[in-house]
């Protein structure tokens, strides 16, 4: 049985695309045939993060409009077996994604893939709604920061009331919390919400905590999902999150900072 998983957040710039790319790659590395679909029409970035921007010929919208077949639009990842990308278009027409069109494409993908990862745009309006509407499970990407937590709560409300599962009174969309850009230094000095704070407020199960790290920027510069950088902390954190998603019980890592000397602290603060 194939599963549709949405990466959503309400708030922009919290790490949905980064997480979608790594999550999809992680599932594929575990042997599951996986496709990651860009729902951010007009602001397509997933292809850049996945490093396949120059191989885009046809896209999601072309398939919906019948201008291309699904097979023509799907891009096979060159590094990871079992991994595919369905890019979106740069069109400014926000109405390009229609519910019946999306349903048809997702239905076709379900025939081929074990997991379909939907990279949602920011907001709680039409674009985000379309990305989450057909989902079976949702990964709520949240930063330890007040406006991100609030927006996550609102998107949880949308999932519970306006998703297809809610409308058809089916079993509700399964929710997972992915806390990203977790800045250990700032959490420890009491400047940022802790993982416990966020969990208490949102009250959904924790899939993983991804630390703030330079290696994410480096990975996107190189066009390679950070999970493939298995020496990096975010890479390991995403690998753990995928493992938990597939049912492994793994302890959470990267929740406390390594002790730094006073000299390093001063250097860091003035940086």
């Amino acid at each position: 049985m194939s599963k549709i998983i949405v990466m959503t957040s309400g708030k922009g710039g919290v790490g949905k695309t980064t997480s979608a790319a790594s999550f999809a790659a992680g599932l594929a590395l575990k042997g599951h045939k996986t496709v990651v679909v860009d729902f951010d029409v007009g602001l397509r970035n997933l292809d850049l993060v996945m490093g396949c921007e120059r191989r885009v010929v046809f896209d999601f919208i072309n398939v919906i409009n019948g201008d291309a077949r699904l097979k023509q639009a799907l891009i096979r990842d060159k590094r990871v077996e079992n991994l595919w990308i369905l890019p979106t278009s740069q069109t400014r027409d926000k109405n390009a994604l229609t519910k019946p069109g999306v349903e048809r494409v997702l239905g076709a993908l379900r025939q081929e893939f074990d997991f379909i990862i939907c990279d949602s745009p920011a907001g709680i309006e039409k674009g985000a709604l379309m990305a989450l509407y057909f989902s079976d499970e949702a990964v709520i990407v949240t930063n330890p920061e007040i406006s991100s937590v609030r927006d996550s709560d609102r998107i949880l409300g949308v999932l519970a009331s306006r998703s297809r599962r809610a409308e058809l009174e089916m079993e509700p969309v399964k929710e997972h919390l992915l806390l990203t850009r977790y800045d250990l230094g700032r959490v420890e000095t009491g400047e940022m919400l802790t993982v416990d704070d966020v969990m208490e407020i949102l009250a959904i199960p924790l899939l993983g905590v991804v630390p703030e790290s330079q290696s994410v920027l480096r990975a996107s510069n190189l066009g390679s999902p950070v999970i493939l950088d298995s020496a990096s902390q975010p890479g390991q954190a995403y690998a753990d999150a995928v493992g938990r998603f597939l049912g492994d019980s793994l302890e959470h890592r990267f929740l406390t900072a390594e002790r730094r000397g006073i000299f390093q602290r001063l250097l860091r603060r003035s940086a």
Partner: protein, 87 residues
């Protein structure tokens, strides 16, 4: 950042964020399915109540309750001065 700032210790701000979020969220969650006119209705009810009694704003509450597929409007008015219709 000046050198002085390095030594001036500000109190942690995360607990404040946490508290504000908890209060806000309690509000927003309760109001998620409330119609837009609730704040106005609340105001009007207060005005009417005040014609007959001395009552503070927080003693009148209005909220929407969902029971199955029925939405109910719940209005609570706490009379001033304690029990037995005290005045």
């Amino acid at each position: 950042m000046s050198l002085l700032d390095l030594f001036r210790k500000q109190p942690p701000s995360a607990p404040a964020a946490r508290e504000r979020l908890q209060i806000l969220m309690a509000h927003e969650r309760a109001g998620v399915r409330g119609p837009d006119y609730l704040p106005k209705l609340h105001k009007d009810l207060l005005r009417v109540c005040k014609k007959y009694m001395q009552i503070s704003d927080d003693k009148v509450s209005v909220r929407v309750e969902e029971l199955g597929n029925v939405s109910m409007l719940e209005v609570n008015i706490e009379l001033p001065g304690g029990g037995a219709y005290a005045r």
